[in-house]
């Protein structure tokens, strides 16, 4: 792994092999992130393509963020939150579901196969289920191969508009 980290933060080289898919998973802190922890504690082997980004609530996941991930080279994006009715913030996952449903329907217009996006529920106690989700999602995206995103930036890419900068 001698050259593993040479790519600078603003650099060009890609970590890992070029032909491997990369997936991003947005996980809510209270249920799914804990579920993934449980899968780890139980040593449940999983495909390695997924990278987890922790968010407080699946309701924090902006569709623009998902599009941004595709734009940055994600071959698939997974969002996982608490089960309906179990949301730590009561209703955050309902909002998430509504928005992300819409997003899923829009994806083909950006040239992204809908299979590359998945929204699911995993609770803190469902380590086994989490491992299955990862395996299934990876298996679903793998045959599609790498995404060559051509959709352009969806209107006003979220980052540039940030309030705290």
């Amino acid at each position: 792994m001698a050259d593993a980290g040479k790519g600078h933060a603003c650099g060009v080289r890609r970590r890992g092999r070029d032909d491997e898919i990369k997936l991003v998973g947005f996980l809510c802190n209270w249920c799914s992130y804990a579920g993934a922890d449980m899968a780890g504690t139980s040593r449940l082997a999983q495909p390695a393509a997924l990278r987890i980004v922790r968010v407080p609530c699946s309701g924090r996941v902006d569709p623009l963020l998902v599009m941004k991930a595709f734009q940055e080279g994600a071959d698939g994006v997974l969002v996982s939150g608490c089960h309906p009715g179990d949301c730590h913030y009561n209703e955050g996952n309902y909002y998430a579901r509504r928005r992300l449903e819409l997003l899923k329907r829009m994806l083909p217009y950006y040239g992204v196969e809908p299979e590359r996006f998945h929204y699911t529920w995993v609770s803190a106690s469902e380590g086994g289920r989490w491992a299955e989700v990862v395996a299934e999602f990876t298996a679903a995206v793998e045959p599609l191969g790498k995404l060559h995103y051509a959709g352009g930036a969806p209107a006003a890419a979220a980052g540039e508009e940030d309030g705290d900068g």
Partner: protein, 652 residues
């Protein structure tokens, strides 16, 4: 900006699969990283000391720990970096154990992934700013709304803990529905024997201020700092002067419905609901009083020996501050008449509700404890009970279980046998729900000792035949129709939320369900909290409940309130949302989605109305961040920039 990265080996837990040295080396080439090293056990004391020392040595201002899940040790390392003089929010934990070493086998793959994750952590901490927990002072007094058994219990618990409490009750007396009951399951002890002492204790408690005939009309503020408007309605009786002699009631010529007795019997325009009322003062109902309808009477004023009657009395408006609020507004019976034309819809005098029956059983009730048919005053021989009226019936929009019907039917059947040894009770039921401690025993007693005949099935029709009632039902166990010609029918009518519960909820900004029962914050783990900080629930206002459950919940709510009131001020999480006021367009899409009502409107000097976040209420869910059309809200710690930079790094 000087970032230090510490890659934990966790013994071999991580190091066996991830090349921690390589990860550290890779980290060194990341922007703003001035130090990176691999540590054997970072959470151990020596490990923590190593981090602190490195921080000093390299003048670090941000720290990334690549180790186990933040859910495991985030606080451990927050404490460590504080010792190194670094703001605890400038720490980022990267999970390379649960998410990496423990779930992968291939060392190369795992190491690459670990580097990705570390890069994301570095990117994220780079966007972090020092945050400070806020503090808000707490008003040390509690408000309890509703004076049923739940409200009484909660008020006493808080007052006993030495904190002042105001109890606001809408009726002229406290006691709620329990005061109307005769005996109470599971032990079948007398309701007023156990309730009255508490009511009296409450009245005389030095820490409790009792406001009857009063209602909450507006609520402002937030946890620790509520400002509440309370309207005390004019009852035309001076509470200080009235001695409760009831002479006025005796002499008053105007009849009025007797709500306390659930419509069994009649009352007067000026009256005291029941002999054990607290406070024991009369109240005048203007809508039934001649003095107010016709402008002449004045009898009560004349006869009152204490000169307590005052027709000129006006409503009083009080505004008070409280740190915590407990809502305990209880229930009423579902309005069954319109929903059940098949049961006569209220037309048959001998079809009564269980609460009316309860009043009849009560020795202090309108019939002096005699069970009689309202139509002709005769003692009934056969009595049919119907469970689940207005409960478990989607067709009338009431799918839920009333939770107490089965038990009070059993109780009433036992009592009926005691009152009328020759009588027989028939109970139509679907399931008998007797799940509490000692409950099944009561149900069995009703069957075995009191000889109640349980018929498994529902009733389709009730109609009069002469002076009797014909009940047409089914016994599903035998699979045939059953008809019972009976003297009296008692309906176990389901629970509905208290009158005006929805309105009160809107004033308090708490959530309620489609039946206007208030919604708890989490059905299992936060059963007495509401989604609004500082407001708690007790008793049947949250859902159908019996007395033991109401009291337990009341004490739990009191404990939560005490916990809050015992603090001088409140620490707030800094990971809250923030609005860029310059660019807010005042659309309030954010406020629509906020589950905690943490967003307020504020008028700026330039005339614009913008959103402001009340930090003590915001729980940091980030819904508003996503909802804001011009994207001018950001959630601290999870800003768009931070999340995007993380995404960029893991995908590199």
């Amino acid at each position: 900006m000087r970032i230090g990265v510490f890659v934990c080996q966790c013994g071999t837990n991580i190091a066996a699969t991830v090349d921690t040295e390589a990860v550290a080396e890779a980290a060194m080439s990341m922007r703003d990283v001035y130090h990176a090293e691999s540590i054997q056990y970072s959470c151990s004391d020596p490990g923590q000391r190593q981090v602190i020392a490195a921080a000093h040595q390299h003048r670090l201002d941000r720290v990334v720990i690549a180790a186990c899940s933040p859910r495991m040790h985030e606080t451990t390392f927050q404490r460590a970096v504080i010792q190194a003089g670094i703001n605890p929010f400038m720490l980022e934990m990267v999970n390379i154990r649960e998410q990496c070493s423990w779930i992968h086998e291939d060392r190369e793959v795992a190491t690459t992934k670990a580097i990705d994750l570390v890069a994301a952590g570095v990117a994220r901490v780079r966007g972090q700013v020092p945050l400070k927990r806020g503090r808000v002072p707490v008003v040390g007094e509690a408000l309890v709304v509703g004076g049923g058994i739940a409200g009484i219990q909660a008020a006493l618990d808080i007052a006993d803990a030495g904190m002042p409490v105001t109890l606001v009750e809408r009726e002229p007396t406290i006691g709620g529905n329990m005061a109307r009951l005769d005996k109470t399951f599971p032990t079948l002890d007398c309701s007023s024997c156990i309730l009255t002492p508490r009511m009296v204790e409450l009245k005389h408690h030095e820490n409790i201020r009792l406001m009857v005939s009063s209602e909450v009309t507006a609520v402002r503020g937030y946890i620790g700092n509520f400002e509440v408007d309370i309207r005390k309605k004019a009852t035309c009786v001076d509470e200080e002067k009235c001695t409760g002699c009831r002479i006025c009631e005796e002499k008053c010529p105007s009849r009025a419905p007797d709500e306390f007795n659930a419509g069994v019997g009649e009352s007067k325009a000026i009256s005291i609901a029941f002999p054990q009322a607290v406070p024991l003062v009369a109240a005048l109902r203007k809508e039934h009083c001649r003095q107010f309808i016709k402008g002449k009477c004045g009898v009560c004023k004349k006869v009152c020996p204490a000169d307590a009657v005052d027709y000129e009395q006006e409503d009083e408006l009080h505004t008070e501050k409280f740190g915590a609020i407990i809502v305990a507004t209880g229930y009423r019976l579902f309005d069954w008449e319109g929903a059940y034309p098949d049961y006569g819809g209220g037309l048959y005098p001998d079809v009564i509700t269980s609460l009316q029956y309860e009043r009849m059983l009560s020795a202090s009730g309108p019939t002096g404890g005699h069970i009689v048919r309202p139509s002709d005053g005769r003692e009934p021989r056969d009595i049919v009970f119907l469970s689940c009226v207005g409960s478990r019936a989607e067709s009338v929009g009431r799918p839920f279980c009333c939770n107490v019907g089965c038990m009070y039917i059993a109780k009433q059947a036992i009592q009926t046998r005691e009152h009328l040894p020759d009588s027989r009770c028939y109970v139509f039921y679907m399931d008998v729900r007797a799940c509490g401690k000692g409950y099944e025993e009561v149900y069995r007693r009703a069957q075995v000792e009191a000889g109640a005949v349980y018929l498994r099935g529902r009733v389709g029709k009730i109609y009069p035949r002469g002076d009797k009632l014909v009940v047409m039902g089914t016994d599903t166990l035998i699979g045939d129709q059953v008809e019972i010609e009976t003297d009296l029918v008692v309906l176990a009518v389901g629970f509905a939320a208290a009158e005006g519960a929805g309105e009160l909820a809107r004033r308090l900004n708490i959530a309620y369900d489609g039946y206007q029962f208030f919604t708890e914050s989490h059905p299992k783990l936060r059963p007495v909290e509401t989604t609004t900080g500082g407001i708690f629930l007790a008793g049947a206002c949250q859902g159908p409940k019996d007395i033991p459950a109401s009291v337990a919940q009341a004490s739990a709510a009191a404990a939560k309130a005490i916990r809050l009131l015992s603090r001088e001020d409140l620490e707030t999480s800094p990971m809250v949302a923030e609005v860029n006021h310059m660019r807010c367009i005042g659309c309030f899409k954010c406020a629509e989605v906020c589950p905690y009502n943490a967003i307020e409107k504020q008028k700026l000097h330039d005339g614009r109305t913008v959103a402001v976040i009340i930090e003590s209420l915001c729980q940091g869910c980030g819904l508003c961040n996503v909802a804001c059309p011009p994207q001018v809200i950001s959630l601290r710690g999870y800003t768009d920039n931070q999340l995007i930079s993380e995404v960029v790094e893991v995908l590199r």
